[in-house]
């Protein structure tokens, strides 16, 4: 399962088209689009909405993630870095929540050709500068707007038009490592990433989380139309898909080994026939797990053992224990 979260419908639309997703029943009021194994949920703007959206979807039994699944956040972002062209696709390596200063780190395990960036998630659209020695930030909500055709979307609803500049260290503090000064320029600002991560970490491991941001503006108050957002995402979704689909396949292939329903039933039947105590049932499960790893299957040999040794349920625990020992010896 690949679960994609966007803040706005205009960010979601190109993804819905690309994967040919179909509208499903809303989840707690969030719009959901799916075509197996891909699901997309529109969270609304802001990290709190994002966190609620992730939690709503992941805690619903139909969409509860497991080890083979991934979560992807896609949205537009602002940056002060003029070397990043509009439409540049950034992959988040670190996310800082500007309301808590908490940092989140997706595992950077898979090879890619994207530009990596730190994503600063702000609770509101921001302007001004931030001094990172104390990370003092000045935020003020800007009531600018973007135009979605004839519909005006309030700035606070849009993940994108954020304006801020960050000074990484006190000017007085000498930076002896060059990489620091390079790194500071690669900041992008959004309004959801930290919320997505914060909620997703309850359901996913950090190597399953991916944060893509497309540069939409240089935080200079430029107005963005719905059509601009559509084409920014649409220009990049192919690249994102090309990268995440193989990762999904890879993680699916690494899912932990679990017993099938048939194996579980046989395990239970054996435990009952041998009248095993709870701790011995646990040992039996371990033994069968071991046998399955070693031989690929335990059902055939266990059925055979039961057929040859256990004609009827053991009379008591002692008799069961004796047969369990015998089984253990022959399965080791």
């Amino acid at each position: 399962m690949i679960t994609i979260f966007t803040a706005l419908y205009c960010e979601a639309e190109p993804i819905i088209q690309y994967f040919d997703l179909k509208r499903q029943d809303d989840i707690n009021g969030f719009q959901l689009f799916s075509r197996d194994p891909i699901h997309l949920l529109i969270t609304g703007v802001g990290s709190i909405n994002a966190a609620i959206g992730v939690t709503s979807l992941c805690s619903s039994s139909l969409y509860a993630p497991d080890f083979g699944d991934i979560i992807v956040n896609i949205g537009i972002c602002g940056t002060k870095n003029l070397s990043l062209g509009k439409g540049s696709l950034l992959l988040g390596k670190k996310i800082i929540d500007l309301s808590t200063y908490r940092a989140y780190y997706p595992d950077m395990i898979f090879e890619h050709e994207f530009t990596e960036s730190t994503i600063l998630t702000s609770p509101v659209p921001v302007t001004g500068s931030v001094n990172n020695s104390a990370i003092v930030h000045s935020l003020h909500t800007e009531h600018s707007s973007i135009y979605a055709g004839s519909t005006e979307i309030s700035m606070t609803e849009c993940a994108g038009l954020r304006t801020q500049s960050f000074i990484h260290k006190d000017n007085t503090n000498t930076i002896s490592n060059e990489w620091l000064s390079d790194a500071i320029n690669l900041f992008a600002t959004d309004m959801e990433a930290s919320g997505i991560f914060h909620a997703a970490k309850l359901f996913y491991q950090p190597h399953q989380m991916f944060f893509f941001k497309v540069v939409s503006d240089y935080q200079d108050g430029e107005k963005l139309r719905k059509q601009d957002v559509l084409s920014l995402i649409s220009d990049n979704i192919g690249q994102i898909a090309k990268w995440i689909l193989p990762i999904h396949d890879e993680l699916q292939s690494r899912k932990p080994m679990v017993f099938s329903e048939q194996e579980k039933a046989l395990l239970n039947r054996t435990a009952e026939s041998l009248r095993l105590t709870v701790s011995m049932q646990f040992q039996l499960k371990g033994l069968l797990h071991y046998y399955k790893i070693k031989n690929g299957d335990f059902t055939r040999d266990l059925e055979q053992f039961l057929k040859e040794n256990i004609k009827q349920t053991c009379k008591n625990k002692n008799e069961g224990k004796k047969y369990f020992e015998k089984l253990r010896k022959s399965f080791l």
Partner: protein
């Protein structure tokens, strides 16, 4: 929806996390200079990455990140009962690096740590200061490569050199650097001393190939040992852990034979033998991490907080291994973990 492409993992240390506090530490700068292409990410404290709950040790092992940090608190630990002390009264171990570039299926580190990323504490000077304090009271035997394989990382960290230099200047201190590496280059740059023991863990070819992922094969380890002996190092050989399989004895015998065909037994400082055992808490986590490992899921017997092959099999394996080893090494030079 399946993709025709295959996902590739980043090379180890493609990303390096650096604690703010030690950004300017000389060891940080030295280490980072050896990774010009790595992405560096500033962090506050190493545990915000390393100690997060719900990480995948197994996936991270495929592409471990490096975390450079500053160690606080306790620097030296008294040897645990499951460790061999080699007859040393004041046996300690220390952890200047946590985790290892190798990926042995039976490794206890995967039961100990939440993450497979490698943490390097760069403030070695603080370790040295603590050691000097203790040395003022009594001599000390210190295992410095306990939660890692320091020698395998030598080209990247240069820590073994620093430890050896310090040890050479402190005659009351003996250090053991345990390794599975075949890092000839490291041996070239290290200076031997009678209080520096290089301890190689050797495993049969079958075990190495099947369970000690990313480690050098037996013959490469042996040739590195040969080099170390020629250079005058004290060399310990550890046949530990010995893993059970139906043909473990013949594989073990073959390995010991190969070992002493390659290296002169008389030059060995000492040897150790230990059959696999693991604490309950570690095994529990290892089983969760590695659902497909026969080593980890073997139905071990349990007592006193430790899982093992059962006293009968463990004793049998130990005494058989000992008998084989005694053909080459005198009894008094063989240390057995019972």
């Amino acid at each position: 929806m399946k993709s025709l492409e295959k996902a590739s993992y980043n090379a180890a240390f493609s990303h390096i996390y650096v604690e703010k506090e030690i950004i300017d530490h000389p060891n940080t700068i030295e280490i980072l200079s050896r990774f010009p292409k790595a992405v560096k990410i500033e962090i506050s404290r190493y545990n915000e990455i390393f100690s997060r709950s719900n990480q995948s040790f197994i996936i991270q092992k495929k592409s471990p990140a490096l975390i450079l940090a500053k160690k606080y608190g306790k620097f030296l630990f008294e040897g645990a009962p499951v460790c061999q002390d080699f007859g040393n009264e004041h046996f300690y171990y220390t952890t200047c690096v946590m985790n290892c570039i190798y990926d042995c299926e039976y490794c206890f580190l995967q039961g100990m740590y939440d993450s497979a990323n490698i943490v390097v504490f760069v403030n070695l000077e603080d370790y040295f200061a603590e050691i000097e304090k203790l040395l003022a009271i009594h001599p000390m035997y210190l295992s410095i490569s306990y939660d890692t394989d320091l020698l395998s990382l030598e080209q990247k960290l240069g820590f073994a050199q620093k430890w050896c230099r310090f040890t050479k200047a402190h005659s009351d201190l003996t250090i053991e650097i345990r390794t599975k590496s075949a890092n000839n280059k490291a041996i070239e740059v290290l200076t031997p001393s009678k209080n520096i023991i290089l301890a190689w863990t050797l495993s049969s070819e079958t075990v190495q190939e099947a369970y000690e992922h990313k480690t050098p094969p037996l013959m490469q380890r042996l040739s590195c040992i040969k080099k170390a002996l020629e250079k005058g190092f004290q060399v310990r050989i550890c046949f530990d852990p010995i893993l059970y399989s139906k043909d473990w004895l013949s594989s073990f015998e073959e390995m010991v034979e190969k070992t002493f065909t390659e290296i002169p037994a008389t030059k060995i400082h000492d040897a150790s033998i230990g059959v696999f055992r693991i604490s309950r808490d570690y095994l529990k986590r290892m089983r969760k991490n590695r659902t497909d490992s026969v080593i980890v899921h073997y139905p071990y017997e349990y007592d006193n907080g430790v899982y093992h092959y059962g006293s009968h099999l463990s004793h049998l394996m130990t005494s058989s291994a000992c008998d084989i080893l005694k053909k080459y090494i005198p009894d008094e030079k063989i240390f057995v973990w019972n």
